[in-house]
Symmetry: C2
């Protein structure tokens, strides 16, 4: 058992690590050569250009000693930007994401204050542990374990549980209200956007006589006669976007060899045609990749023609635009035909938020996919240890020697042997955990969501469940998830909270260490951006020829909702569970929330470039998971107290989860519609205003080419212009007053990339 | 343990009882004097008048011996009417209700066939029970109990479980599809009805400057400018309708005494003013009730004035009508303002389906009411035995003697003593069970539903849960629900299905008896209509003066969805649970379904008069509960088989509920929207047709007075005409081609009554 001293040492180590990260960051970020790694957001907004002037040295290294003195001054700077400005700068998603940390602080600071002033003295002034023969640490004297069985002091914990629940619910209710207002205000004050007028229609039924485009037009002309404006069909460009990506990769290699050749013109660079340029026939690098680029260009061109001319490449989906926001709001919220599996309408996501590959999945297939993913996720959560154990059993010394006898001499070296024995089994698990978010994302994609934001939200939910079972429960009752499941199935409903509840106080020190390593050091590591830093300098050295290339070499990254939010939720869970049991955990969580708030605020201002703007559509999930944590904490407390011979408190404790769930349902009804539906009054108000201000607006032109597969917008070779023009049909560029947010495009993670020259045209019409 | 012979005797008794009921019915229904009891539906439809001609004797008794010979000929007659005609005759609700019985037959006849040809031989050809020392009946030799532990024969049961599940799902899917189509067809082919154009708006926010009426008009003129037509505010007429009901009751007494006086003019009838005319001052009956009627008439008149003139009696709700069905469909399905708790819109129920008392409950109150009802229902289900046990402990001989010593001599008589000891405790429970549906209905009313159909659906759900826990589980594991709950809380999730599963085969004979008594005899009793028969003749003797009074004395009744459907569901549950375990139960269930189908078809044709038409809105509930029964049966089978040392089959059995739940979700997505939403295409089609056919339709006049509180339509005294005219504002009667369905009004169970003279006017405009 760890004593206060042990925790102090661990804390000191982790504080030092975090401090080291901060110092490294402070030094690195001041070097002009790293400017694009630590301030990409400003470049993307066009408010900062590459540092060019001055001597060669100052171009790369900052020699001004004064700037090093105030090495932590980025912290107050990060906090200075006021919220409305931050919304304009980084979007509502980022600002509301920061509110999750703020919510954590709002919940836990008063709770910690109350717990330390009331509960810690109540626990501390007992001597149960001293009298017992148990091995215990002095930390445990602060916890509920120190209260004797059947003591009346448990009433304190009961009252505190009520107080904490009410406070948490109060904060949650307020936050939900604020976020809902922010969202509505954001949506209302926004400039005209194509998705305000557009509805995504899926599962257009096949018709032998009409093309999809004609069918859509006729259907909406008949059923929304006063409101229908125009529509855009969706092309199946999955193959094309694969080709474009491939070409981009080949082009990168070509650039690399050309740069190599230009630096050392005496030798033609050579490469091999096989795997990663390591195996196969040796050829001239430049020639090989030039011919590859040519081949792919031709293929892209012919694929593009095929898509444009073949009616089969039109998917049974369309983006239908309306004359008014009112018309779009009506169409998105209503059912169109008596068969609820065809002509499905939903709000169109932002153009950049659309996940194009999933637009054409029929209804039956969707439900089957959901079943498959459900089963797959169940097995992933409960049986993921089986393949890892298999790999681990193979990846030992004997296995390696058997598979590759020639490695025997190397493997038998003592240092390498101990390294393999020590690390290899762990690496298999670590690799799995690193790839887990990607696996979950693939599941969500397979499930058929149509926007990137929805994909991320669903992945976050799954990641949270995985963490809850494998990290939280797994650490408390030690054993794989499957063993837990087996245990739970053989235990009564009464005993499950007891089993877990009883182990909780003993795990406090473990979780304190976890918070420090995963939370503190993790957050401090986030600001250092080691991976983007290395990648940028590698690309800068080997690939960058022009300023445009340098812009593309930047990887600002995003908030990563699908991994970040579940991590925060784990801290909410730990905080709420331990608030009554071992309040000593709370300060560590508060430090995490505070630190993370400052760091992520800095990152949002200076680094991240969100891929989409969902106007905080994720808040209902965040709220729901905090409520889950609250209910779990109440059940576990009930289990724990029932072993303490304080059974008379059980009815009072049962009331708590009932009230909490009721509160959740209340909030759901009260606030959730603001995140799912679009009120007609708001739509009508904006429409009326717009009609008054711009009576001659050419809306059709504005919407005409808003929803075109990004791959058609790639302008990296000449033939695309022709093709995209064909597809866009009279692309009228409507100038608006608003400045384009991004004057430098970033490669989209998911579906091809937009390069600057044409992207600017396109983005001009998506303000 | 009951043997085959015992069951045979019980069956014979019950068949004889049922047969006796049928004979009694056959004789009673042929008497002209009972004509209004057994064929009220035809009177209500105006297709039958009172038998007047002929001699006095034949007016009351049927002397034609030939009609007695074919005393069962009502059965084929009931089956003859084709379904479309039945829909026109009795409404879609009744026809779809009959389909529940048909679904039962469709599911269980093939299952029984398969079970008897495959499973019964497999079970029968073992000798486990013979070898064991257990007491068993020869019925048990047909059940799964007869298969030895660890036998490979369990594969048969497993395969059968799959076959039964797939068959049930197949039937359910088909039925869902058919019912959905019927509903859509019914809604589409219907004549113009006010609810097609009308939306119920609740929670109109208070406004200091405008009245509710003005506010509603302005809001919809702004937000639905092209579609808004008119609206009707809702008056708080709860007190008025109470007064009207009271007056009606007093009027009945007045009629009774006047009739008494006219038959015996020598003596003025006397009455007492106190409780039920038994206590208090003795007064002249006619004078007393005449003055009472006058007093109430004045009170009603002044209350009516108060409602009309006091703006506070206008509730913050309104029925808003639109120019087109399309406009109404849009408004009902969309959110109006950014605050989702005000301006709530939903489809208006049929005017006769509206539950007026609940129209003005604010959102917060609704959520609190839901919590209260949840808790109350939980206690009702699990703790209802406590007050009954209390009553039982009081209602014994000693208790009575202590409370009323003067009864001692009577009570001590041996016969009376044994009667009290034997029946009184049972009566408390029986009374509770009789009042249970009313208690559940009160709960649903308190919860705030706005239509009678929704109230009945919710009550049915609660009644089903109550029956599931207290009848099904209560009979299997014997013990009160609370004892069960306690037991389950202390058992592991694995053990619960085992505990129940193991007891199931042993309870087969009990449930067979239950089916015969509750099902067979109950259904046969339903057709006899003993209570309406007695009530009608009592009223006819004491109250009826005019033909109109006689019409009011008829009580056709309704299907009683809130009690009838949960009863059927219990049989589905028993059938599915026992299909694999003891197939001997199936024939009894099939007989029930067949008998009930014929009887209820007869009753629907000849007797029941539905209070509302919800167009089969209850089918999703029916479907969901059959799915629940299926999943329960699968879990219990899993529990049972796991005790039979056939554990290798568990993974296969776990797959079943997963697949079943997935099937349910699939059906929900595929068919449920047809029951919740109104497709725009259908609305548009009907609008277009109507515009073409009747271009000069005065829709405003048609809708103007459709949604007026029924109490304002009562025309039983002169002053009402004035008041209702004031309220109705230019009531334009629009003649339609369709005949009014009811030319004789029936008292509405819930909110006042409509008497014929004005009702006909009103109903003319509600075709």
């Amino acid at each position: 058992m760890a004593t206060l001293g042990d925790i102090g040492v661990a804390a000191a180590i982790n504080i030092l690590t975090a401090f080291a990260f901060f110092v490294a960051f402070a030094i690195l970020r001041l070097q002009p050569v790293n400017d694009r790694v630590y301030f990409p957001k400003w470049y993307l907004k066009g408010l900062r250009a590459s540092p060019l002037g001055g001597a060669l040295v100052t171009k790369f290294v900052n020699l001004d000693y004064r700037s090093y003195v105030r090495f932590l001054n980025w912290m107050p700077a990060a906090l200075q930007m006021p919220e409305p400005e931050l919304v304009a700068h980084a979007g509502l998603d980022s600002v509301v994401y920061l509110r999750i940390y703020l919510t954590g602080l709002k919940i836990f600071v008063p709770i910690a204050f109350l717990a330390f002033s009331v509960m810690v003295p109540v626990n501390w002034t007992n001597s149960t542990l001293k009298k017992s023969n148990l091995v215990y640490s002095n930390l445990d004297e602060l916890s509920i374990s120190n209260v004797p069985l059947g003591s009346h002091r448990f009433w304190t914990h009961l009252v505190m549980a009520y107080a904490f629940t009410f406070w948490t619910c109060y904060v949650l209710n307020r936050e939900y209200e604020i976020v809902a207002t922010m969202r509505l205000h954001f949506l209302a004050s926004e400039q005209r956007r194509p998705d305000q007028f557009t509805v995504l229609v899926r599962n257009v039924p096949p018709d032998p006589d009409e093309t999809v485009s004609q069918l859509v037009e006729h259907f909406f002309l008949v059923n929304h006669p006063d409101h229908y404006l125009t529509h855009q069909v969706v092309y199946n460009a999955n193959k094309l976007s694969k080709l474009v990506n491939e070409k981009k990769k080949v082009q990168n290699w070509l650039d690399y060899y050309q740069l190599k050749f230009s630096r050392n013109p005496s030798r033609r660079p050579l490469t091999k045609t096989g795997f990663l340029g390591l195996l196969g026939k040796r050829v001239d690098g430049i020639d090989h990749y030039t011919s590859e680029v040519d081949r792919l260009s031709k293929e892209i061109s012919s694929e593009r023609d095929k898509i444009t001319n073949n009616p089969k490449s039109i998917m049974p989906s369309a983006f239908v635009s309306f004359k008014t926001r009112w018309g779009a709001a009506v169409c998105a919220q209503t059912q169109q035909t008596r068969n609820p599996t065809i002509w499905l309408t939903q709000w169109a996501p932002e153009p950049r938020d659309v996940y194009w590959d999933n637009l054409a999945i029929p209804y039956v297939s969707l439900t089957i996919r959901r079943l498959i993913v459900f089963v797959a996720f169940f097995f992933l959560t409960f049986f993921f240890m089986i393949p890892i154990a298999l790999v681990q059993s193979l990846a030992n010394i004997e296995g390696i020697e058997r598979a590759a006898p020639f490695l025997k001499t190397i493997v038998e070296v003592k240092f390498i042997k101990s390294f393999i024995q020590g690390f290899l089994p762990g690496i298999a698990l670590k690799l799995f955990l690193i790839f887990l978010p990607s696996i979950l994302m693939i599941m969500s994609k397979f499930e058929g969501f149509t926007s990137i934001s929805a994909l991320e939200r669903r992945s976050a939910t799954r990641y949270y469940i995985f963490q809850f079972i494998n990290v939280f429960l797994g650490s408390i009752i030690t054993g794989t998830a499957f063993q837990q499941l087996d245990k739970f199935l053989h235990q009564s409903a009464n005993d499950i909270p007891i089993t877990i509840g009883v182990s909780i106080p003993m795990k406090a020190t473990f979780f304190i260490t976890y918070i420090m390593v995963d939370g503190w050091a993790g957050v401090a590591g986030e600001i250092l951006r080691l991976k983007p830093l290395i990648m940028y300098h590698l690309k800068n050295t080997f690939l960058v020829k022009t300023e445009k290339d340098r812009e593309e070499a930047m990887d600002p990254g995003t908030l990563g909702f699908n991994t970040g939010e579940p991590q925060i939720q784990l801290y909410f869970l730990l905080g709420l569970v331990y608030a009554v049991v071992s309040p000593i955990l709370l300060p560590f969580i508060i430090v995490f929330f505070g630190l993370a708030y400052v760091v992520y605020r800095h990152q949002i201002i200076n680094v991240y470039n969100q891929e989409y703007e969902s106007a905080a559509a994720f808040w209902p999930d965040v709220h729901g998971r905090i409520i889950t944590a609250l209910v779990v904490s109440q059940l576990l407390l009930m289990g724990l107290i029932s072993t303490k011979e304080a059974a008379q408190s059980t009815p009072l404790l049962i009331t708590l989860p009932v009230l909490t769930i009721w509160f959740h349902l209340f909030c759901k009804g009260r606030y959730e519609p603001a995140f799912k539906k679009n009120p007609l009054q708001e739509a009508m108000r904006k429409d009326t205003l717009e009609r008054a201000r711009e009576p001659n607006l050419n809306l059709k032109g504005f919407l005409q080419s808003a929803y075109i597969h990004p791959v058609f917008k790639v302008a990296d070779d000449s033939d695309s212009d022709g093709a995209s023009e064909e597809l866009e049909q009279e692309p009228v560029v409507v100038p608006t007053k608003r400045q384009s947010r991004r004057n430098t495009p970033v490669p989209s993670k998911y579906s091809g990339s937009i390069s600057s020259s044409q992207a600017e045209d396109v983005l001009m019409i998506q303000p």
